[in-house]
């Protein structure tokens, strides 16, 4: 089962560029592997999209293809103008959606 993990600093100063790290446990079946017994290709099942919103506005996104490793890790930056809430959304090939939220307090 896909379990998301996100690291966001708790506080930041106004307009500071923060670093966010995300990881979700997922097999990321590439669709290239063959089943050893049957010789048939194992169907593709990966996380194909990742989006980040801050106070409801999309600030970062990634389209993911099978070339990304299992348990996809992403690190990126965001410039935070105000306190608010990040929402992280991962979309699976099978239509499942995994979400998590993190808030940040901006001072000064």
């Amino acid at each position: 089962m896909a379990k998301p993990r996100v690291k966001v600093p708790r506080t930041a100063s106004k307009d500071e560029v923060i670093t966010i790290k995300t990881l979700i446990s997922h097999k990321m079946e590439s669709g290239q592997r063959k089943d050893r017994k049957t010789g048939k290709k194992i169907p593709r099942k990966i996380i194909n999209k990742f989006t980040v919103t801050f106070n409801g506005v999309q600030v970062f996104a990634t389209e993911i293809q099978p070339g990304v490793s299992a348990n996809p890790f992403l690190q990126f930056n965001i410039k935070v103008p105000e306190s608010g809430e990040f929402e992280f959304i991962w979309v699976d090939d099978d239509g499942s959606i995994y979400k998590t939220k993190k808030s940040i307090k901006v001072t000064g």
Binding site: V17, Q32, V59, F60, T62, Q65, S69, L74, N77, K79
Partner: protein, 151 residues
Amino acid sequence: MELTKRELLLLGSGAIATMAVGLPTASAFAASAEVEKQIAAFAGGAKIGSGKVSLTAPEIAENGNTVPISVDVESPMTKADYVKSVMLLATGNPAPGVATFHFSPMSGQASATTRIRLAKTQEVIAVAKMSNGSVFMDKKVVKVTIGGCGG
């Protein structure tokens, strides 16, 4: 037939020479039609420049299943001038597409890190598209000891 020591040595050096010829050189990583097609589609007709983008990858990856790759693009990241997206391609994988990052002026800094799969020693490409439509590219060769596409 018995081989003399001299003949054996000759045979050996011949084999080494053939291997050396067979080794891939940088120019041998000619982009496949699929890779070129994806770059052209991403660039949308813009001329591809060099500079601005820097791709950070290990020279040698022991495990092709998870190779750390970072991409940084020089940009002021303001509403008027920012990096829209960066596409990563692994030219030697069965499917070259890896990921496309979409930045916004709120990114503050156009950089991203992820971990990718590399099936064999190959060239990794990062192509960046700016908000004004200009396109820049960087390439790195990564040597892979153990391939990462299963099978």
